[in-house]
Symmetry: C2
Subunit: 300 residues, 2 copies
C-alpha cells in the first residue's frame, strides 16, 4: 500500500504534554506555546482539558486558555471533556472540537476514570448528544491499545470493540493510544487491521508513545497500512506517568522528520517547530525529548 500523500498531525503538547507537570505553568506560557505551534504550521492543537482542577490542577486555567487563544484561521483548537459538565464549560469557552477518553483495558478504565468501559461509554452518550446540538465535533481516544500497565496484553478485538462503539456513537475520529509505549510494529499493524475491519481507516489516528523507543517504527508500520492522522507532542512533552523519567508522547519534530523523509506532506515548518520545542523545554525546565530538536539545536 502506498503511503498517504499528506498526514495531519494532532499536537497534544499543550494538554497531554503539560497536564502532569507538577510546577504551575502560567497561562501566558501555554498561550504562547499554542500560538507558536500554530505559526509552525500545526492545524490541530489540543489546547486544554476541562477536567476537575482537583484531579488535574495544571489544567485549572482551561477557560482562560480557551478564551485567551489568538485563533488562527484554519487551525482547530480542541479540548478534552470527560463529561457533560466539562463539555458545558468548554462550550462557554468557545470550543469548536472536544475529545472523550475511553480505554481498551477494564483495569485501566477503573483506575484511570473510575468506571468500567461500558459505564464510560454510557457517560459519553449525553456528551456526544450535547456536542451534536452545539455543532461541535467529538474525537474519541482509546488508551492501552497495545498493552496495559495493569493487565499487560490487550486483545486487538477489545480495541476494535471500543473504537467501533465510539465511532458509532458519533466520534468523527478515534485515536488509538499506545499509552505505555510497549508496542512494536507487527503488533501495531495487527491491532490496526483488527480495528479497521469494523470502521473506516480514514477515521482512525495513531497516538503512540516512545517509552521503549519504538514509536517511529510503529508509525512507519501503520503508515504502510494507511493511517494518515498522527498524534504527537512537541519536544516529546509529557513523559510516561507509568515509568517516571522515561519518555511518553512521541515528539512532533521526530514524526515530522520521518514524514517529510517519506515524501509525505504535513504543512509544518520543521525548523520553527524545533525552535518551539527548544523554547518550551527551556521555559519549563524539562529535557527536550525530541532527537531532531536536540540535533538541530546542537548543529546550531
Amino acid at each position: 500500500m502506498p503511503f498517504p500523500q499528506s498526514v495531519r498531525l494532532v499536537e497534544v503538547g499543550p494538554r497531554d504534554g503539560l497536564q502532569n507537570e507538577p510546577e504551575p505553568i502560567s497561562t501566558a506560557t501555554k498561550l504562547e506555546l499554542i500560538d507558536r505551534l500554530g505559526v509552525a504550521g500545526l492545524r490541530h492543537i489540543e489546547a486544554a482539558s476541562f477536567v476537575s482542577p482537583k484531579w488535574v490542577p495544571q489544567m485549572a486555567d482551561h477557560r482562560e486558555v480557551m478564551t485567551g487563544l489568538a485563533r488562527r484561521p484554519g487551525v482547530v483548537y480542541s479540548a478534552l471533556t470527560p463529561n457533560l459538565k466539562g463539555l458545558e464549560a468548554a462550550l462557554e469557552g468557545g470550543v469548536e472540537e472536544v475529545a472523550v477518553f475511553a480505554a481498551a483495558s477494564e483495569s485501566f478504565s477503573q483506575k484511570n476514570i473510575n468506571c468500567s468501559i461500558a459505564e464510560s461509554l454510557a457517560r459519553f452518550e449525553p456528551v456526544l448528544e450535547r456536542a451534536r446540538q452545539a455543532d461541535v465535533r467529538v474525537r474519541g481516544y482509546v488508551s492501552c491499545v497495545l498493552g496495559c500497565p495493569y493487565e499487560g496484553e490487550i486483545a486487538p478485538s477489545k480495541v476494535a470493540e471500543v473504537s467501533k462503539a465510539l465511532h458509532e456513537m458519533g466520534c468523527y475520529e478515534v485515536s488509538l493510544g499506545d499509552t505505555i509505549g510497549t508496542g512494536t510494529p507487527l503488533k501495531a499493524r495487527r491491532m490496526l487491521e483488527s480495528v479497521a475491519r469494523d470502521m473506516p481507516m480514514d477515521r482512525l489516528a495513531a497516538h503512540f508513545h516512545d517509552t521503549y523507543g519504538q514509536a517511529l517504527a510503529n508509525l512507519y508500520a501503520v503508515l504502510e497500512e494507511g493511517i494518515a492522522v498522527i498524534d504527537s507532542s512537541v519536544a516529546g512533552l509529557g513523559g510516561c506517568p507509568y515509568a517516571r523519567g522515561a519518555s511518553g508522547n512521541v515528539a512532533s519534530e521526530d514524526v515530522v522528520y520521518l514524514l517529510h523523509g517519506l515524501g509525505i506532506e504535513t504543512g509544518i515548518d520543521l525548523e520553527t517547530l524545533a525552535d518551539t520545542g527548544t523554547w518550551i523545554t527551556r521555559t519549563i525546565g524539562r529535557p527536550n525529548r525530541s532527537k531532531v530538536g536536540v540535533a538541530l539545536a546542537a548543529r546550531g
Copy 2:
C-alpha cells in the same frame, strides 16, 4: 518479504561507543563492559581500535584490552585496524577478526582518514592480504551511506561501488553506516536495494545512528528488505561527533526490543543487557540513551 528468523547483533559500544570519551576510562572498566555484554548474549563484540593513540587516546590500551579479555566460547571479539601496522599489533594481541573503515563520501574520507576513497581502498589491500595469511576475517565499514556532514546527499550508486569494492577485496561482511543519522526509511531501503544489486544481502549489515530518532524505523524498513545483521551500541554509547550532545549509535537494548517484538531471535537477554547499559553509563557518568534501558530502570 518475511523478516529473518534471527538477527545477529554486532555490539560496537566498547569501541565506537567509547572512543570519543574525553575522560580516560580504565582498561578494567572496558574489560568488564565487554564481559558483561558476553554474559548478556552478544556474540560479536567490537572490543578495541588499533589506531594511533595520537588520534584516539581513549583506545591507547587496545593491546591490554585484547589480551586481557576473558574469551567466551562462541563470541567473536573484533578490532578496528586502519592499516597494516594496526593489523600487526592486533594480531600480536590475538585478534580473530578485524575491521577496515571506508567512506561513501570523498569529503568525509579526506577529513576523516586523510585520503581519497580510492587511496583508502588501496591501503586496505595489504591489510586484507595479511589478514588472509593469518586466517583472520575482515569486516568492512562504509560510512556516510545516507548522508555526509560535508556533502549532504550521497548517491546510492556510490555506496554500492564502495561496498562492492570492499566485498571483492575479501571483506566477508560490509556494514553500511548512517554516520550522521539523517536517513529515513525509504532512503534506507533505496540505498540498500542499490547495494544489494552488486553483492549478496546476507553479506550486508546495517549500522544506523539515531541522531534524528529514525534508527529503529530505518532498521524496520531494511529488515523488511532482508537485512539480518545490525550494529548497535549498549545504552547508545557514543553520541554524535557532528552534533555534540545529540545521539549517535542506536542503542542495542532498543534494537533487541524491536527484534523480539517482531518475533526475531537474537540470543540476547534484554534485562541483562539493560542492566549492563545502566551500569556502564553510571560508571562513566553519561546519560543512558537507550529508551528501553531508561524505561526498565524506571519501572524498577
